[in-house]
């Protein structure tokens, strides 16, 4: 067996996940283990530049096949490890579920393997394993989260069939509708209409921090895997039916998301709708071949990850009854402001991180005619109105509860400040996120 760095990426997180699982009752110890592990992995990975450094060999034997760490996989995980650390730090500030750190660590292993191993069929099975690993986090001890978690896992597993058919290449050459398997694989893996059924309920019942893990970081690997799979069957992507179906699925998913936001009676409903809308808008990225598709998808997913972390900080927190001071009144606005900024970023308005990928997505949809673009813009406008309406309600409620003061720990405040600074920087300079994606893809 080869002894390259991929072995550390495959085995290391699993071993540490077992340790974190054993100490999961002690939340902060578990968080320390998680953060230390991902930072160590990021450090070692930075030393594992191809052909040089501590781990010159970037291959490893796996299930009788060879797993190869390409420069893109290395760059992607150089981002994902610290990003996972940030998610773990959120669990330090507030309880997000005992399964978060062990599951977050364990899922890194199949995700890395899925991108490194060939053929793609084995990668698809590893993605099913990754989906299974995050199920306890999605469930999070809540009865109402069982069915959406089950539907998420169910569809991730059903996607195995079309992905394996595409990977084998036989559907394209043997059957007349060769685009159907790639289309099904795309819609199921990205949660496009009509396979969006899990997203709304999941968005309502899981913590936004868990959503940042599952719909942000995990989805980065899923999208990279899917785009490379679609690159292997260019005929399918060129089919008019495939392009038409993806465009209209994107439009319908976004409209359903906007409709859910407009009808939502609480913030969780608005967040769930915004997630669905963002999922719809991610779909057009699959229409663009090669690294150009990833150049659209990666900024969009990083922005989704950041937006969900902001929403996570804004949605929940400790409120105490106490003496209202000027500082207290100011602090009362911090959480609503974070929530609002996170939601506006999820729908991709200017001056938010979500804006970076949004115009490219709309431009791709626009190549298929005017109506899909107009409907997507309408969905974005409706979503903005829904957010503003809900924000007015929240502000009114905040003004009424004059004796409620927000309680922040210094750590939580520091985390908020860090996230706001990063997000504001990306919001002001969208090119930063696009530049990061270009560097990951070796274009910068």
């Amino acid at each position: 067996m080869e002894t390259g760095f991929p072995l550390v990426m495959l085995v290391g997180p699993v071993v540490m996940a077992i340790i974190a699982l054993a100490v999961r009752k002690y939340r902060r110890i578990s968080v320390i283990i998680g953060v230390a592990t991902v930072l160590s992995l990021a450090f070692l990975l930075s030393l594992a530049a191809p052909g040089t450094g501590l781990f010159a060999d970037n291959t490893v034997g796996f299930l009788g096949r060879e797993a190869v760490m390409s420069p893109f996989v290395r760059s992607l995980f150089l981002f994902m490890y610290p990003a996972m650390g940030l998610i773990f730090l959120m669990a330090w500030a507030r309880p997000v579920g005992r399964a978060l750190v062990p599951a977050g660590l364990a899922v890194l292993s199949p995700l890395a393997a899925a991108l490194m191993i060939s053929p793609a069929g084995l990668g698809a099975v590893l993605l099913v394993t990754a989906a299974a690993v995050v199920v306890p986090t999605l469930h999070g001890g809540k009865f109402d989260a069982v069915v959406p978690a089950w539907r998420y896992f169910l569809l991730a597993t059903v996607a195995l069939a079309p992905v394996l058919l595409v990977a084998s290449g036989s559907m394209i050459t043997t059957f007349p509708a060769g685009w159907s398997a790639p289309l099904l694989a795309t819609l199921i893996l990205l949660g496009g209409f009509p396979f969006h059924v899990w997203a709304g309920a999941l968005g309502r019942h899981i913590s936004p921090v868990v959503a940042a893990l599952v719909l942000g970081l995990l989805q980065l690997v899923v999208v990279s895997f899917l785009l490379s799979l679609l690159d292997s069957v260019p005929g399918a992507r060129a089919a008019v039916e495939f392009r038409l179906a993806i465009r209209w699925s994107a439009v319908l998913t976004a409209l359903i998301g906007a409709f859910a936001m407009a009808r939502a009676a609480d913030w969780r409903g608005v967040v769930a709708g915004a997630i669905l809308l963002d999922m719809g808008l991610l779909l057009p990225a699959v229409l663009v071949p090669g690294t150009d598709g990833l150049m659209i998808a990666i900024p969009a997913l990083i922005a989704r990850y950041l937006a969900l972390l902001l929403v996570g900080l804004g949605l929940t927190g400790r409120s105490l009854v106490g003496q209202s001071t000027r500082l207290g009144r100011l602090l009362r606005l911090v959480r609503p402001a974070l929530l609002l900024y996170g939601l506006l970023s999820l729908i991709g308005l200017p001056l938010t991180p979500g804006f970076a990928g949004r115009w490219a997505q709309l431009a791709v949809v626009g190549q298929g005619g005017m109506w899909p673009t107009l409907l997507l813009v309408f969905a974005l406008a409706a979503a903005t109105v829904a957010i503003v309406r809900m924000a007015r309600h929240r502000l009114a409620a905040t003004a009424e509860s004059a004796t409620i003061v927000e309680s922040f720990s210094a750590f939580e405040f520091g985390l908020m400040l860090f996230l706001v600074m990063i997000s504001a920087l990306i919001g002001l300079f969208p090119g930063l996120l696009i530049g990061l994606a270009a560097r990951m893809l070796g274009l910068g």
Binding site: L122, T129, F143, R151, V158, L160
Partner: protein, 234 residues
């Protein structure tokens, strides 16, 4: 007495080869999908795995086919323990309308001595439609012929279409992880049978078996999460 080898066992079961095995397989899969009590459903899942393993002999190396049947045995054991711990899929007695709605139980109606849920009736109707489609395919095969060899298509095609169709019916008509999971496993069995013609490598066969284990374990976790209080799982 010598222990029989895989090939001895296959020789003894030669009378089942072909259409009889498919008929039994589809009957088992049908029961696994439509039975609302988990006891017959789990028994049918076991039968389905053993018979599918028998059909895999025509697709893969017999030793790999045996591994598939053996894996099915373990998957069934996981499902059996889960079903036992969750009162065989029966809802707790004396539920109020509100509690039944929260549990995702559909409306029920009385048919003679039996009380049947609307969703079970829908599942039964769809499963019958799938079995009829599989029977029609057995009379005029050819749908999968580019992939499935001509000499096997007559009986493997109805098996593949029947299992995939029944699996889809099972997973689409239940929000409950246990019956839905049985549907998913039946779907994966049918798909694995088809995929065996596309990729016969050891790695892919093992990967698909691993996928079935992963599904069984996830179903077990979520079925218990739905049945037991949260602190027991935590």
């Amino acid at each position: 007495m010598d222990t029989p080898t895989i090939f001895d066992i296959l020789d003894r079961l030669a009378f089942l080869h072909g259409m009889p095995a498919v008929a039994l397989l589809l009957t088992a899969a049908f029961i696994a999908i439509v039975a609302w009590d988990m006891r017959p459903a789990i028994a049918a899942v076991l039968a389905q795995y053993l018979l599918a393993g028998f059909l895999f002999v025509d697709v893969l190396d017999p030793r790999l086919a045996f591994v598939y049947a053996l894996a099915g045995l373990f998957v069934t054991a996981i499902l059996f323990i889960t079903a036992w711990q969750t009162n065989w899929g029966r809802p707790p007695p004396g539920l109020t309308q509100q509690e039944a709605t929260r549990l995702g139980l559909s409306r029920t109606r009385r048919l003679g001595r039996f009380t049947v849920a609307d969703r079970s009736l829908l599942r039964l109707a769809l499963a019958v439609a799938v079995v009829l489609a599989a029977l029609w395919l057995a009379r005029s095969p050819g749908l999968l012929q580019p992939v499935v060899p001509a000499e096997l298509v007559a009986y493997l095609e109805p098996a593949i279409v029947g299992l995939v169709g029944l699996g889809l019916v099972g997973l689409a008509t239940s929000a409950d992880p246990l019956p839905g999971g049985i549907g998913l496993l039946v779907f994966l069995t049918g798909f694995s049978l088809f995929h065996g013609f596309l990729d016969q490598s050891l790695a892919m066969t093992v990967a698909l078996v691993v996928a079935q284990f992963v599904v069984a374990l996830t179903v077990a976790y979520l079925a218990q999460a739905r049945y037991l209080p949260a602190d027991v799982l935590d």
